[in-house]
Amino acid sequence: MTDPWFECLAPCEALVPCGQGRHVIRWEAGALTLASHADPEAELVLAALGGEKARCVEVAQAWRRHAEDLSVLAIGPRGPDDAIAVSWDDVAAAAQAGGHGPMMPPSGPRAAPHRLASPAIPTAARAQARRHHVEEEMERVTQRRNDMLSLLALGYGFQVRLIGQVAQANADPPDEAMARVRPPLVAAMTGRLAPVAEAWLGIDPDQVVVSLHRPPGWGSVELTGRGEQRRLMVSLPASWLGRVWAAGLPLTGRHLVVAVARGGWPEARVLGLRAPGAEPVPLDVHAVVGPSGAGDVPHWEL
């Protein structure tokens, strides 16, 4: 389990409108590369001096900004059936809309109430400070929205790889950070494991209860109760999201894959459960690439 988390993930590419053309952005071995931009850092300096910032560079910056952002797990896809189709036209339209438009959260900063008379100077100073704060907050929210749209526009392959990246970055936090990262990780694991469990056992996804397992060991999967009280109790490490789920491995050959024993693409050895409560067995699996030839959404077989 010391292999890099992305061992079972094939490289993937996306075409991004950039300048007058369309450039390739490539993900490989956990890193994003811009094939058409030899020196992105220099381009950033030029952009800071007033030059136009290349879309590819913006996307790479957004990737870096959100590589540890747990919100990615709440927004991104829950599985192959959850296609999030964002086009580059959508990204451009949102950027033009600025801080307005339907994707601004309803719970965003509120306008200050109307005043009937001229406020006192301290009140006016407070109001100005509050307005400044609201503007900063709106700017932050707008940037976050535009970032997310850009990252989603890269397509499903990139979406799941970013999810894997974020999960891995938060998989083994110091004890004092656990209370902060555990709730979003548990929700993210539940949201992605529940539909897999439904396909595996036919169980109601609402009856899947996930907890975070901290190594050593792979964790546990047990079925308890009957009828409405039936629960599938799953305890897996957060790294499962990157190593197993993002690679498209979670349900392979009617086994729930709980860990990767020896990573690789397109051949790997995983640990799979035939049924809840059983001990995982090693399975040699190989990826079946779709008709497009891309490994974005691989299908694995025994």
Partner: protein
């Protein structure tokens, strides 16, 4: 309090709503009835915030993620609804003023033109908020004294009554708490119109036992059902024993400021404070029950198309999730009887979609049963209670850091209002989807002299600050035959009871 458990529950709830969307794309939960989708998350979030299990920043983060997750999945649901396209928002444009309001405003302007006095703001029920009284120097402890004095006035064809409910002296100053109405005016005003310029304040005199006469200033309430204040300047010294209040055509009334003896029937009982021994979750659920008992009966006789669920369905639909969330947050014991009471209450009110796991309790608290019995026997054409006002005042104990005092009772237009003063640092807050106010975290009930219970819900707040007069609406209204009331206010940490005699006055 298990803050991590609370956050985990809310995130899992959001995840479940998303999962429902993926399972049935055509019936997305953010388009679902109240209790589902974002509304369901917000109800639980409000409950968890109210008990201190979650901060608003965490809630905002979770909702922002949920909103963005929903938005990106809806991008191509509707033709032309791209991310930069404006969509219709559920804003409601305020209807233009009615003919009645316009006529009243015109008339008020005419009156103002021929009178001097405080400025009139045109518009029905849209009057100036009471000014913040300047702190005045007053020796001695705070005073809360019932008055119960009707002051009739006649001036240039306009007549009316001003009723002094109570006298209050605190660090914010000395003032009478009043309600008032106008009897003979142009027909469109009716009685009880609120135009402060009509009050002939200069005809009223207040003199103390040393012959000192006080300047008076009028601070109107912000609506027909709100109390107004008449400030006294300077504030009476602490050792003043009585005040004489005199109005034209009425004998002066002496207001005794000395402490009442227990034998004095006007004194009422001393407030009795006690421990409430409620968990934060139980206290919250009891306040939600108060809301349900208030809201649901209002909806029983209101026309509504079958497909349009009302606020009571929204509240009830979230109760199961709220109970589970409070348990996950450690704010509610799984052994608490309150969820079972709530389930029984929902059953009594015909709200079947509450999803509370606990089976309905066989018994309910006495005050809930009293109110339910009232609804059972009420007929749609029951005559409303007649207008009236009752002098009553008492300094209740401090609950959860907020001092409460009773300032009076007031019946108008078929509604009863209990006027209170809240003192202490109360956070500025507007009621959320659950109708709860963080600045008034209390359950307040009134038992009348006939043994019937009335639930009291915040209905008006004059101003945020260290001293905030507020109005609670009583359901059901209080009949004028009530000789005394027992006020029961319950906070999370304790409760206080006070039995107060009522000194009723009536408009002529």
């Amino acid at each position: 309090m298990d803050r991590e458990g609370a956050e985990t529950y809310l995130r899992l709830l959001a995840e479940a709503k998303m999962r429902g969307a993926l399972a049935r794309v055509a019936d997305r939960p953010w388009h679902s009835p109240p209790g589902g989708g974002r509304m369901g998350i917000m109800l639980v979030a409000e409950a968890l915030t109210a008990v201190g299990a979650l901060g608003t920043e965490t809630v905002d983060d979770i909702l922002a993620d949920f909103d963005l997750a929903v938005s990106v999945r809806q991008l191509h649901d509707q033709p032309g609804a791209g991310p930069g396209m404006a969509r219709s928002m559920p804003y409601r444009i305020a209807p233009p003023g009615t003919m009645h309001a316009a006529a009243v405003a015109r008339w008020a302007a005419q009156v103002q033109a021929r009178r001097s006095g405080p400025a009139v703001r045109a518009g029905w029920l849209v009057l100036a908020e009471p000014a913040n009284p300047e702190p005045s120097v007053a020796s001695g402890a705070d005073r809360f004294a019932p008055v119960g004095l009707t002051v009739p006035f006649y001036d240039e064809g306009i007549s009316g009554d001003m009723y002094l409910m109570s006298f209050v002296q605190t660090s914010a100053g000395a003032r009478f708490i009043t309600v008032w109405g106008i009897n003979s005016t142009p027909a469109e005003l009716g009685s009880g119109a609120l135009f402060p310029s009509l009050i002939p304040l200069d005809l009223l005199t207040v003199t103390d036992d040393r012959g000192t006469r006080y300047e008076l200033d009028f601070r109107p309430g912000s609506g027909l059902e709100h109390a107004s204040e008449i400030g006294l300047r300077p504030a009476p010294p602490g050792d003043v024993r009585w005040l004489d209040v005199a109005a034209p055509l009425s004998p002066p009334v002496r207001l005794d400021l000395d402490s009442k003896t227990p034998d004095d029937p006007a004194a009422g009982d001393q407030p009795q404070a006690g421990q409430a021994e409620l968990s934060p979750g139980e206290h919250l659920l009891l306040m939600l029950a108060d809301r349900l008992l208030t809201v649901v009966p209002e909806c029983l006789h209101r026309w509504r198309p079958p497909a349009a669920p009302g606020p009571e369905q929204a509240m009830a639909a979230g109760l199961g999730d709220i109970v589970a969330a409070l348990e996950a947050a450690g704010a509610l014991s799984p052994l608490s009887p309150v969820p079972a009471w709530l389930a029984a209450l929902c059953a009594c009110l015909g709200l079947g979609e509450h999803r509370i796991a606990a089976p309905p309790a066989p018994d309910l608290p006495e005050h809930w049963l009293s109110l339910l019995a009232h609804y059972e026997r009420r007929k749609p054409d029951t005559a409303p209670v007649r207008d009236g006002y009752a002098g009553a005042a008492a300094d209740l104990a401090e609950l959860d850091g907020i001092g409460l005092a009773v300032l009076g009772l007031h019946n108008t237009e078929g509604n009863s209002s209990l006027h209170l003063l809240a003192r202490g640092r109360t956070p500025e807050s507007l009621p959320g989807k659950l109708g709860l106010r963080r600045d008034f975290p209390f359950s307040v009930w009134i038992r009348d002299s006939g043994g019937r219970w009335h639930v009291a819900q915040p209905a008006g707040w004059h101003r945020p600050g260290c001293e905030s007069p507020l109005r609670l609406r009583l359901v059901p209204p209080l009949p004028r035959s009530t000789a005394w009331i027992e006020v029961l206010a319950t906070g999370q940490s304790g409760e206080v009871r006070a039995r107060l005699p009522l000194r009723w006055g009536y408009p002529r």
